[in-house]
Symmetry: C2
Subunit: 245 residues, 2 copies
């Protein structure tokens, strides 16, 4: 049987999603949980990687397993640490693929524009400066649509030729001194959300204009954009398998 699971995690203690030689990763603890449960080596495939410190409310992964469970969600959770939690796990078609079938994703970035908050230090970017949200909203429109995001990601060009992605929508909201950006798109390259956010922050400070962002996009130049923001403010909110509407 193939299973599709949605997983929430606090990324603070992890070296990202994907298994790697150094440091514990979320994929590792999920696979360890499945191993203690089934006594089999089960590899899971996620819709996307998240970097060290990035959080998830909506990561999706799939895996194959020939055992049946009365309540597989509860069974896996019983083997997981308390900073990782399966929200749902259900049987799907053998054809389902968490990454290839995904139609769009939502990422959120949270910025604290008030004073430093030690309680939220691992869960939002402590910018601790005021931003002009209306300027950010205007600037965000430059990213919406289909663009070559070569200038706005940390993947080397040699690794992936096609860096064209479509952003469907960007929402910029402010509440209680937090600026929250929600990005909806058909795919996101490495550091792409963080680099767009860093750029929108510069727009919100009045340091760059919409025209500057257009130029950065058109340049398709890896050395063009140096704006970035910490991983701790980033949340993978949702992976959708339906068309964006």
């Amino acid at each position: 049987m193939r299973y599709k699971a949605i997983v929430r995690y606090d990324g603070t203690a992890y070296n990202g999603w994907q298994i790697q030689p150094n440091g514990i990763t979320v994929q590792q603890v999920v696979q360890d949980a499945l191993k203690s449960l089934t006594l089999q080596e089960i590899s899971v495939t996620a819709a996307g990687r998240t970097d060290a410190g990035v959080h998830s409310y909506g990561q999706v992964f799939h895996f194959d397993c020939d055992k049946q469970f009365k309540d597989i969600t509860r069974a896996i959770n019983s083997q997981l640490p308390d900073d990782v939690r399966i929200v749902s796990c259900q049987e799907v078609s053998d054809e389902f693929h968490s990454r290839f079938d995904a139609k769009w994703k939502q990422y959120r970035y949270v910025i604290n524009t008030n004073g430093y908050d030690p309680i939220r230090r691992n869960y939002e970017y402590q910018l601790n400066e005021k931003l002009d949200v209306e300027l950010m909203r205007q600037a965000a429109k430059e990213f919406v649509g289909e663009h070559d995001f070569t200038s706005f990601n940390a993947t080397k060009l040699s690794e992936m030729e096609n860096q064209v992605r479509t952003i469907y929508r960007i929402d910029v909201n402010e509440r209680n001194g937090k600026v929250v950006l929600d990005f909806y798109g058909n795919g996101f390259l490495r550091h792409m959300v963080r680099m767009m956010t860093g750029t929108l922050i510069e727009a919100g400070k009045g340091n760059i204009t919409d025209g500057d962002i257009r130029e950065m996009l058109q340049a398709r130049d890896k050395n063009m954009v140096h704006y970035n923001v910490p991983a701790c403010g980033l949340y993978l909110m949702r992976i959708s398998y339906d068309d964006f509407s």
Copy 2:
């Protein structure tokens, strides 16, 4: 000179505010910071203790120090770990006492009534059950006013005879699946906010009535109330030196 400071902290890693033989405490790291700064042993006195795991946005302490600083807030913060932060520190009258002069305090308790959230596990109580907020609001009125809270705290009677306190107001609000309780009072005994919260949760589940709470208060019996809730949902929000209005 006497100084008054307001300190925020993430209580997760600490064995509460007050210095003790086992485990690191917030008071300890604050005094260590003052020692590295002044090369003197400086003892600080807080408005109230907080238990292990309890957070603060508004703890106040005072201390005496004969050195002068250009920017004492910044100086102390430079010596503190990133989960403790001085919000303000200023010279006050030598007569000022953080605890004796406090007129009222605000504590907040946050309950997640939606599904388990690993990202907020150390910052709100993961009740993960629905509550009737209107029932809680009604029940909360029983605590407002001057009462003997003997039944609603964990201090032994022998340690402190007078367990009469005045609650000025309790607000019960719900937003996005979180129930937030704000308690304003002239003083709070050990576990008092957590025991009142546990009791209000039972009211919100329909398990107890307003009359039951009246009986519990009137009983003045340490064995009467067994409702309590985890420390992680509790925040010391404010210490005020003005009359409550």
